[in-house]
Symmetry: C2
Subunit: 483 residues, 2 copies
Amino acid sequence: MMTKRQQITKKQTEQLSLDLIEAQYALKNTRGTDQARGLLILVGGIEFAGKSEAIKQLREWVDPRHLYVKADIPNQITSKKLFWQPYVPFIPAHGQMMLLFGNWYTDLLASSLYGEEQISEQDFAEYIEQMHHFEQYLQANDIDVIKIWFDLSLATTQKRLERLDLAKALQRVPNFSWAKFPVSNWRNKKLYNDIQSIRKRFTSDWIIIDGEDEKLRNYQFAQEILAALKKPPQLKPQKIAYQAQDIHPQLNAPASTYLEKKAYKQQLKKLEKQLAEAMRYDPRNIVLLFEGMDAAGKGGAIKRIIKYLDPREYQIHSISAPERHERQRPYLWRFWDKLRDDSAINIFDRSWYGRVLVERVEHLISDQDWQRAYHEINRFEHNLSQHSAIVIKFWLSISKDEQLKRFENRLNTPQKYFKITDEDWRNREKWDQYLQAASDMLHYTSTEHAPWHVIASNDKYTARIQILQTILERLNAEGECPK
Amino acid sequence: MMTKRQQITKKQTEQLSLDLIEAQYALKNTRGTDQARGLLILVGGIEFAGKSEAIKQLREWVDPRHLYVKADIPNQITSKKLFWQPYVPFIPAHGQMMLLFGNWYTDLLASSLYGEEQISEQDFAEYIEQMHHFEQYLQANDIDVIKIWFDLSLATTQKRLERLDLAKALQRVPNFSWAKFPVSNWRNKKLYNDIQSIRKRFTSDWIIIDGEDEKLRNYQFAQEILAALKKPPQLKPQKIAYQAQDIHPQLNAPASTYLEKKAYKQQLKKLEKQLAEAMRYDPRNIVLLFEGMDAAGKGGAIKRIIKYLDPREYQIHSISAPERHERQRPYLWRFWDKLRDDSAINIFDRSWYGRVLVERVEHLISDQDWQRAYHEINRFEHNLSQHSAIVIKFWLSISKDEQLKRFENRLNTPQKYFKITDEDWRNREKWDQYLQAASDMLHYTSTEHAPWHVIASNDKYTARIQILQTILERLNAEGECPK
């Protein structure tokens, strides 16, 4: 630890700069390798402690072309919004270093102080827990996260405040309003103490930098960044106690109920209308996802769900292999990106479960990665359902014979011919491995908030009716006991 | 043309569906080929003319996995905002088909009717012109654009309005407020006439579909999409009358003034502070861009510009080769994406001029492409400067000897060693071709709104002072005569 009395020599800062640049390039060059990783730096702190100055100094010491800085005034944290939504575009890709000056913690701090919604002690603690999980996920997926708090005594804060023409300094801040951001109150001892007591509830795992001495502060900040850049990649979390599950009985032999066309048509129309109404007026965001073997009927079911909805009311996401820029980010990132807009109804034709299905079966990732994914996905869905979303998951189950019949039918139907590819036939050869993966997935990711619904789908009519009914039931059940 | 009396047979719709799917896959398969193209469909229309229904029907006929639909309530068009900003993520990539239900025209229509700012006749005409230029740019860059207006008589509009429980139907619309979106007024003949007269000012190149008969309407809509999908790629616009220019004198032999270190330091500090103040309080968005040979001093100049700014006040964009997902879109798209956030100061270390510099010299594109780019870039910058942005462009000019000296210096300076790569040496071998390209660029893209500033940069001190002074002058000059 450096004491205040120590002087920093020019030679020291030159060496620091050189080390930083070297470490930046080393990070950059991990991109595309097995060692690929990124660095995310969260910065917060007391006003006038010198965050901006330290960031500016850092930018001069590093190669600024490889340090991305995203700085904003706080976003409002509310129970309706996911804290990570504003930050999705700024999660670093492999090889990147991103500094978030303003981040989910400072959003929470500002919202606690000035927000429109009261944040209870319990909610606060829950937000922090979610944020920790989010960061753990990033860490486990090769994005290191460090958090740095700039602190300052009340006496020095007030001294620095006096030196400043606040009205002028803040004029340029986007969307600035005094009401939102009552800077004059910083003279207030109570506010200072409030900030300190709120931030102490989340900064126990932060690096704290004393902003008293400007040079030391800047030097220490840059050294912390250097240490983070040079830190060897962390060991991945231990894999979970995974045990292969027995094949789920409904997967092995889907129930074979059969519905007459006439009865189907009658029930269908009624249900389609009922469901559209229920979804339209549900105040929550609705996340529907469909998994199942090729030709299990996912697309057909989705068609019926949206029958009486307006295209403005929903988004359909058809998930296939990630693109290159998506592969350079944590696996869940591309789904965060799709859910960023907070639109009311999101329907996934295949989903993040690709991680524990195709990616597992095709050996695209290590055993450790897909086993850890059960946890990661559960947390992600928990996070969604804590924020006014309801997550409804379907596995459409068909027999191997039925799949063959449908493949052949597709080959013989001009409109469907396009839907069948060599890949479908290759997947079919791994039928048993997919059944194992699906059975494990059902076991490990059927949670209280987001249970799986296994739908026997050898008969399309039966399956569709059951899917519509299930969604209706889930919406009604959860509607009765709002959180 | 189909008349209302004609019936559409089941066989016809089946064939249409098949043709659509085939055409979709043909489009998708152009991705990554020389024939790569995308399709953008803009949809607007009178309320109750059946836009939603036609889109829903289309989704049933096509393979919905390859039709993206983006639907929103209107964005406010204001003089401070670029009309394309909300739509950047929804410009289709090669191989994609995107339907914008709600788009820049409907934004303009809604803003004319209900907007907070008055839109004058002249502004309206200018917006339309900008929109046309934007679409021409897309077309020339392999994104076909079709625009479809659903029309309906007042009598039928009112009849359909009566059938509807409006309050309920609109409850789900995001951010909905009656004040913004006074639906009850649709009964009003004057409003209907207003909408018609406004939309007629932009729909002359739209396909108009009569919404009277639901089946015919849906069928015709889908047929127009099919026709667009099947249309052979358009001929690229003729290349401009390009003539190679003489090498710009200041590029061949940059003026060699020299500034003493002491004088430099004094002037610099004063200018840095003045400039920070000027930029901070300028109400416009500021776009600064730097081009020049490798080692011309772009990074060093940028450092001095931001010296007294807060990191929250600016963004620096270091532009290198586009990533793959960016290459699958029109060239300017990645710059639209960077300017999407409407942040106050954007600084580009290299820029969209890569098109007529490195891409031209390295033969990455055809002569026709880079020659057309002069126009495209001029329009883009004109568009920026029409919307409260000031665009300030620098070419930093050094001699070939000076570059060699700097390269050698970089090799011998540990902190700078990283900045020099084999590519820099390869570029140097093409010195004369770059000079030619730069001279042409200066000639063809120095416009009234966005003139080039050529800065003799053999002496770094002189260059930096001149750059700071130039920005100050531009800010002041344009500040005096606000548009």
